[in-house]
């Protein structure tokens, strides 16, 4: 069972994540308003905000997933509070360094910081090393956290048990809870992508300090960048799924989900697919060996099989014609899975090379990943936050304003996302601070998106107020 300290630190994580989320959404709305010519930011400011928005979003939803998993893991194994705290401190310092490089130093190479752009200094000289150093700080904290959590699992389960291999046979002697299996698979992916980031940063720093005598290969660094970037975004979704496998049945008043042979097979396979799908970010780099391009399409397609055939199907089976104690928590999980499915449709479409030829770097790309996040992963985490915050209430899960929150999220989210999908089909480029006049729909779509996003933001503010109040109570409690 989790300790008071773990409960408190989880509350801190939740409040920080929600606060940063609000800031990041506001940055996003400002971006869309700029693109809609409602406000006028200089391109440097716009792209700086874009950099901050992207990295902050990925960062917070990653740590949200990790914090949730850490908290729930205490049901099975002891986790290290010290490491959790270390990760929290690193995250805070890393975010502050990142924000100083973008807001003060005007670093604006995008959240993907694609080589060699960070070295084409169009900002304060110190901003490049500070930006890269912020990633080192974040990466070290998160790497230590992931390895620690994985080690704790392996102190109770053998390697094969952690991967639930014994479930391939009938009637296994030891049962691996689905939560442990999914967490294990996800942590392996997380560690791999963080190591890719380490390698990337080492190569970048090597060039930075070499004063021109060493120059990196752009193709290698792009591969490493997307190995890190794609995989961390994917894995943070899976951290959310681990939470769902653990909590959905419990919150719904249903028997706990167990690992079956197909759950074990699906999650083991997904590890391979997730680690090789990132090649789909390089389809338009004709320099990439063609074999790797095809691996990218096949892995991206295959990754949808365990996702749809096991997780999504399982949740539908769990709900279909079954009496469920519906509450805001499991509603958020359920809707989040639907959002994840729809984001997946957009993703598989774009992961098809011949489609990517006309969709790559248009608004279709932010369309699908915002769907995954804003209507998928965010809802998974909000479900956990809500459950956690109310867990210690005297009484039961109080869903104050639940319908209002859900309506605002769905209304705001769907409108916001549709603007992206339509924009992508209209070939409107992504990452443009302002749109060329010949794209007549571009600015209106951006303005409409900003309006819908504001409704979404209102929902988040309601969540923030409600959950923060509860979390502060937890932080200051003595038992």
């Amino acid at each position: 069972m989790e300790s008071l300290k773990t409960r408190k630190i989880t509350s801190v994580w939740i409040v920080i994540v929600l606060a940063l989320f609000i800031v990041a959404i506001i940055l996003g709305i400002l971006m869309r308003l700029n693109q809609g010519t409602i406000i006028q930011q200089s391109p440097v400011t716009f792209y700086g905000n874009m950099t901050t928005h992207g990295l902050t979003m990925i960062g917070i939803w990653f740590v949200a997933g990790m914090a949730a998993v850490n908290y729930l893991m205490e049901r099975y194994v002891k986790t290290s509070y010290g490491v959790n705290l270390f990760a929290l401190i690193c995250t805070i310092i890393g975010v502050l360094m990142l924000w100083s490089s973008t807001f003060i130093g005007h670093f604006h190479a995008g959240w993907t910081f694609l080589y060699p752009l960070p070295f084409k200094v169009a900002w304060a000289q110190w901003a490049t090393p500070v930006f890269l150093a912020s990633l080192v700080v974040l990466g070290v904290g998160w790497l230590v956290w992931s390895v620690s959590l994985m080690s704790q699992i392996l102190k109770k389960y053998t390697l094969s048990q952690a991967f639930a291999w014994q479930h391939f046979k009938k009637n296994p002697a030891v049962e691996t809870p689905p939560f442990i299996l999914i967490t294990m698979v996800t942590l392996v992916g997380v560690i791999a992508c963080l190591l890719a980031a380490v390698l990337l940063l080492v190569l970048l720093f090597a060039e930075y300090f070499s004063n021109g005598s060493f120059v990196n290969d752009a193709l290698l660094l792009k591969n490493l960048t997307y190995f890190f970037g794609h995989t961390i975004a994917n894995e943070m979704l899976y951290l959310g799924l681990a939470v769902i496998y653990e909590l959905f049945a419990e919150v719904s008043g249903r028997p706990k989900w167990k690992t079956t042979w197909y759950v074990a097979v699906a999650w083991n396979l997904s590890l391979v697919f997730i680690l090789t799908a990132f090649f789909h970010h390089l389809y338009m780099d004709f320099v990439q060996p063609e074999g790797l391009q095809i691996v990218g399409q096949l892995a991206s397609y295959l990754a949808s099989l365990p996702a749809a055939g096991v997780t999504v199907f399982s949740i539908l089976v769990a709900v279909y014609r079954t009496k469920i104690n519906w509450s805001l928590t499991n509603l958020l999980f359920f809707i989040g899975v639907a959002g994840w499915v729809i984001g997946g449709l957009g993703a598989v479409i774009d992961a098809t090379i011949s489609n990517n030829f006309v969709l790559h770097n248009t608004l279709w790309v932010p369309a699908h990943f915002h769907t995954y996040n804003a209507m998928g992963n965010v809802l998974f985490s909000l479900g956990f936050f809500h459950w956690f915050a109310h867990k210690f209430d005297v009484g039961f899960n109080i869903d104050k304003n639940a319908m209002l929150k859900l309506t605002l999220i769905l209304f705001g989210g769907i409108g916001f996302l549709l603007a992206f999908y339509i924009g992508g089909a209209d070939s409107i480029p992504r990452r443009y601070s302002n749109y060329p006049p010949e794209f007549t729909m571009a600015a209106p779509l951006a303005t409409v998106a900003a309006v819908f996003a504001t409704f979404y933001l209102l929902a988040i503010l309601l969540f923030f107020l409600n959950i923060t109040k509860k979390c502060i109570k937890i932080m200051s409690s003595t038992s």
Binding site: A109, M284, Y301, V317, I353, F357, G424, R430, S433
Partner: protein
């Protein structure tokens, strides 16, 4: 093509929403004695099989349509060298010297003939994206420093085509563009 993709996506998304809503409503109507889905394992197997077949069909149909080897067995009638840099595209009939950065203005390409674009970058990653007169993206390739990408294309409609940079490259990324005419 993009609009058919959008319709496909919207139909599939609507179908997913319908399925989830239906399942949710079925749970609202359920009572304690309801047993849920009959034979879920069998249904799961069929679902996976159908999905696998659909994905297999899409993969086998679309992978050969990849843009890497378009018109590979033909000889281009015209070769256009393209060098991308912060924040312009230099177009030239011959290789472009990064120091002098000399290019051609008012490039005219022949209609219905094979053109080869040889695309590189002098500094950071850029995107070489060709938009037709209806502002639809019709072809693209990346411009990576140290490499030359070869994109072969036949233009079947005359008119003005725009080139936009589609890979974020810095503060004037949104203004980085060029054009050519097809006659």
């Amino acid at each position: 093509m993009q609009h058919s993709i959008l319709w496909l996506f919207l139909i599939l998304a609507a179908a997913s929403i319908i399925v989830f809503t239906y399942v949710f409503l079925s749970s609202k109507k359920a009572n304690e004695s309801d047993q849920g889905m009959n034979q879920p394992l069998k249904k799961r197997f069929w679902f996976l099989l159908i999905l696998f077949v659909i994905l297999g069909i899409f993969a086998s149909v679309t992978i050969p349509k990849s843009p890497y080897y378009l018109f590979a067995d033909q000889t281009p009638v015209r070769v256009l060298h393209v060098a991308a840099m912060q924040y312009a595209f230099i177009l030239s009939n011959d290789a472009i010297n990064p120091e002098s950065q000399q290019g051609e203005t008012d490039v005219v390409l022949p209609l219905n003939e094979l053109i080869e674009f040889r695309v590189t970058s002098f500094d950071v990653n850029h995107g070489f994206a060709i938009y037709d007169a209806n502002n639809q993206l019709i072809a693209q390739t990346q411009a990576m420093p140290g490499y030359v990408n070869r994109l072969r294309w036949k233009f079947t409609s005359p008119g003005k085509y725009n080139i936009l940079c589609l890979e974020f490259c810095g503060m004037a990324h949104q203004g980085m563009r060029s054009s050519f005419t097809v006659k």
